[in-house]
């Protein structure tokens, strides 16, 4: 009798549990190897077009586990693990890893410690979640594809009277492999139309200061004013 009761209770619990089954488990989309391959192929294509010196490309699933990886010829070996780390970080946080790099750069240094708990946490730009119908199904991480950081001028367009004459200055800049700094530092005859080149370059530079540069300049100006 007691045995029967126990069995009945167990059956009742099992039944009530099974009625709640539908809400207990959710549907999930998972990236498959073929999808990962297509993502990598497109990335390799983009890297070639951008004249990247190489690159490791990693694709992970939504759990941050590696699905596929390719290291292009001549890419430095350490980039493989960095690419996996970037992809993993992007997948597990469902965020671009640039968010972390920026946060740390802007002073939230303590964010680096997230790496203590999380295997392979890599707060470096280059990891992006892969979304499908608004859900993160995985992530991609790229490392070793960055260009030489020494910036140089890559192109210009100009609309003005005598534009053909004015753009010469930029042609020389490109040929010499120099950057905007060169024009900014050149004394232009005043008043001439070509002087506007210098003004444009200065405006561009002003808009492209990094946060670190802005910080230093702010402090510098504050200090000079005090004197």
């Amino acid at each position: 009798m007691r045995y029967l009761l126990t069995t009945l209770t167990a059956a009742a619990i099992a039944m009530s549990a099974s009625t709640g089954y539908a809400e207990s488990v959710a549907d999930k989309r998972g990236l498959m190897l073929e999808g990962a391959r297509q993502v990598i192929a497109a990335t390799v294509d983009a890297a070639r077009k951008a004249d990247a010196p190489g690159g490791s490309i990693a694709v992970v699933d939504e759990g941050g586990n590696l699905l596929a990886l390719e290291r292009l010829d001549h890419t430095f070996a350490a980039s493989a693990n960095i690419a996996i780390g970037k992809a993993r970080t992007a997948a597990l946080f469902k965020k671009s890893t640039k968010v972390f790099e920026d946060a740390i750069k802007n002073g939230r240094t303590s964010m680096v410690t997230l790496g203590g708990d999380l295997q392979n946490f890599t707060p470096l730009q280059g990891g992006i979640p892969l979304e499908w119908e608004g859900k993160v199904v995985g992530a991609i991480g790229v490392s070793g594809a960055a260009q030489d950081p020494r910036c140089h001028h890559c192109g210009s367009s100009c609309v003005a009277h005598h534009a053909g004459d004015m753009i010469n200055e930029f042609s020389v800049l490109m040929k010499a492999g120099a950057g905007a700094k060169t024009i900014a530092g050149t004394i232009h005859p005043y008043p001439t139309q070509a002087e506007v080149n210098k003004k444009v370059v200065n405006l561009w530079r002003k808009a492209h200061f990094t946060n670190g540069q802005k910080n230093i300049l702010t402090k510098w100006f504050a200090w000079t004013r005090k004197r």
């Binding site: 190897l33 699933d61 759990g63 699905l67 596929a68 290291r71 010829d73």
Partner: protein
């Protein structure tokens, strides 16, 4: 006086030594080569219905190419890489270490950079180890068979 003469002779000896080469030629596995190896391993795995991770590392044990076939347990990713690295940096199948441990050489567990698990096989071209392939996900023998099928492709490699 004698001292300076000995010193001069030593320098002379070092200079004579420079006539010998300081660098060796090395063969490096390209991504294309790695892809050919993985393609064959993948074909074999699919034929057998095996769900595995296939990893190819270069001669330094660093990951070059990896594929996790659909529905493979995720833990195999790291095991596959580890097996490949073991075979590459020790220039022998990872099975060797598994057998050593089984035969009582427990100290083999302490080898730095090695996992004593069957399924990692070196990729050899003209007697030189240029990389390795590691397979993980099924039984030790099946993993190794798939790895061997991939590594065999290297026999046809040319520069």
């Amino acid at each position: 006086m004698i001292h300076s003469m000995v010193f001069a002779i030593a320098i002379l000896g070092a200079m004579v030594g420079t006539t010998q080469a300081q660098l060796i030629e090395k063969q490096a596995l390209t991504l294309k080569g790695a892809k050919q190896i993985v393609a064959v391993a993948e074909a074999k795995a699919k034929l057998e219905g095996a769900r595995v991770v296939i990893a190819v590392v270069d001669e330094g044990g660093n990951l070059l190419l990896l594929q996790r076939l659909d529905d493979t347990q995720v833990a195999s990713v790291n095991v596959g890489i580890d097996k490949a690295r073991t075979a590459a940096i020790f220039r022998r199948p990872s099975k060797v270490f598994e057998e050593q441990v089984r035969n009582g050489r427990v100290a083999a567990l302490a080898l730095h950079g090695a996992v004593p698990l069957q399924g990692g096989v070196p990729i050899v071209v003209e007697g030189q180890v240029i990389g390795a392939i590691g397979v993980s996900g099924e039984t030790p023998d099946q993993d190794e068979d798939i790895a061997l099928a991939g590594a065999a492709v290297a026999a046809s490699f040319t520069k």
